[in-house]
């Protein structure tokens, strides 16, 4: 009896010790992935960049939530019309399309949450659920909790936080399981949708801050190009990379210059605020903005259609 109890307790203690110390290690997982899929996203071709480098690169993609917050700060009205319709989910029947559009819907969800439009949140959560399950990462979304939060407008901040956190966990999981190709598609879809929404708002408002934000995304294109080219042995990735190449071309003459100013550190009420010493300037013409938005629209059409 004592022996049995000893084994049981030691096992329990061991399990808890391991979970207590498990964390954010970026080491690539070598264990078999029971969730690996058998279709076009099976990751077999040799990569030019290692999974570890890819993880670093993927983390550098800007959050669409920030873009949504900037759009809201311009005072423009929310428009559901510009979002990807949730009726589309059934037509995304390959892992490639599901992953890309999971990113698209996640950016839409960020936009919806930023504008506190809880009446349509559930439709988008269901779309996310469907696509996430389609690529076998549904376990990261506690949909009952998310739905509960979505039905109470006082909980929208929590909803936003839990949604983003679920996406971050899913992303970490995919990368740890050597499924960075899936992760990169989700991030590409989210980034393009963020730009698409911004482009639509620019067409409506010609807002200077949004134009500047679009301009400074030039650096991200280079990062995405590195990611997608890494998987260019897969035909779908190659086509997506070609589309991105057109967008890169539209950005070619956008100039980003840097001026060095004075750094400032202020301590106020026990809190530190640091103002960066370098300041970037974006030189972008109206013609370039039009060309960039046209390419974003084409790329977004390629993704959602």
């Amino acid at each position: 009896m004592l022996k049995k109890f000893t084994y049981l307790t030691l096992t329990l203690a061991g399990v808890f010790l391991m979970t207590a110390c498990g964390g954010s290690s970026n080491k690539g997982g070598s264990s078999s992935d029971e969730l690996t899929f058998n279709d076009s996203l099976a990751n077999t071709a040799p990569l030019e960049l290692s999974q570890e480098v890819m993880s670093d690169v993927i983390q550098n993609i800007s959050s669409p939530v920030e873009m949504a917050a900037l759009i809201k700060s311009t005072g423009v009205e929310f428009s559901q019309r510009i979002l990807n319709s949730t009726n589309q989910t059934d037509q995304y029947n390959t892992s490639f399309k599901r992953a890309l559009n999971l990113g698209v819907y996640s950016a839409d969800l960020g936009y919806i949450n930023t504008f506190d439009k809880n009446t349509i949140v559930i439709d988008y959560l269901v779309a996310v659920k469907s696509l996430a399950e389609g690529i076998k990462v549904g376990q990261f979304f506690d949909f009952n909790s998310l739905k509960r939060l979505a039905t109470n407008s006082n909980n929208l901040d929590s909803l936003m936080q839990i949604s983003i956190s679920s996406f971050n966990k899913m992303d970490s999981y995919l990368r740890s399981q050597n499924r960075s190709n899936v992760s990169s598609l989700i991030i590409t879809g989210a980034w393009i949708e963020g730009l698409y929404i911004t482009g639509k708002v620019i067409e409506q408002t010609n807002d200077e801050n949004l134009i500047k934000r679009i301009g400074e995304q030039k650096d991200i294109i280079n990062i995405l190009e590195i990611i997608l080219k890494n998987y260019s042995s897969q035909p779908n990735f190659s086509e997506l990379a070609d589309q991105l190449g057109n967008l890169k071309e539209a950005y070619k003459d956008v100039k980003i210059t840097t001026e060095v100013g004075e750094p400032t550190t202020v301590e106020k009420d026990g809190k530190l605020v640091i103002i960066q010493d370098e300041i970037s300037h974006i030189e972008i013409t109206p013609e370039q903005v039009t060309a960039i938005i046209a390419e974003i629209n084409a790329l977004r059409e390629f993704i959602v259609s």
């Binding site: 203690a13 808890f16 954010s24 670093d56 900037l70 990062i223 840097t258 809190k271 530190l272 970037s280």
Partner: protein
């Protein structure tokens, strides 16, 4: 003999539970609470443990992309067993220049805000003074977009 075995088992189990609470979701909840009204962007797990061969722990680094004209907040919650508070440093892409840190005038703050004026890739580094072991959770959030 039986008594000491029970004590050992109790201690092992208690340590395991304490460790879990110390560096797990509770710590993240604390960091999220301290984030206040800012908009959550992502969180980071910091666990620095000495390997057998090491005299001290090093640092853990995360790459992030920051947009210009944007104020971000970086706040941390420290594990209860930490000897010292975790030190956060925001560095440029090449890791050559410290742009911001929660260590200022000899004092370690639980947070700092950074007004980014140049969009790009940055590195966020976490370490413990003197290379001690410890754990922490950090949260990056959006304070406001400057017009």
């Amino acid at each position: 003999m039986k008594k000491s075995l029970y004590t050992l088992l109790f201690l092992l189990t208690a340590f395991a539970f304490a460790g879990h609470a110390q560096c797990g979701d509770d710590l993240l909840k604390e960091a999220l609470k301290e984030m206040g009204s800012s908009q959550y962007i992502k969180d980071f797990t910091i666990e620095l443990i000495k390997e057998k061969k090491d005299v001290k722990t090093g640092y853990i680094k995360f790459s992030i992309f920051l947009n210009s004209n944007t104020q971000y907040k970086f706040n941390v919650a420290n594990g209860i067993s930490n000897v010292d508070k975790v030190v956060m440093q925001l560095k440029d892409k090449e890791d050559t220049k410290v742009l911001a840190s929660n260590l200022y005038n000899g004092k370690t703050f639980d947070e700092f805000s950074f007004v980014c004026r140049k969009a790009g890739v940055y590195n966020l580094l976490f370490s413990f003074k003197g290379g001690q072991e410890g754990c922490a959770k950090a949260v990056m959030s959006l304070v406001k977009q400057m017009q």
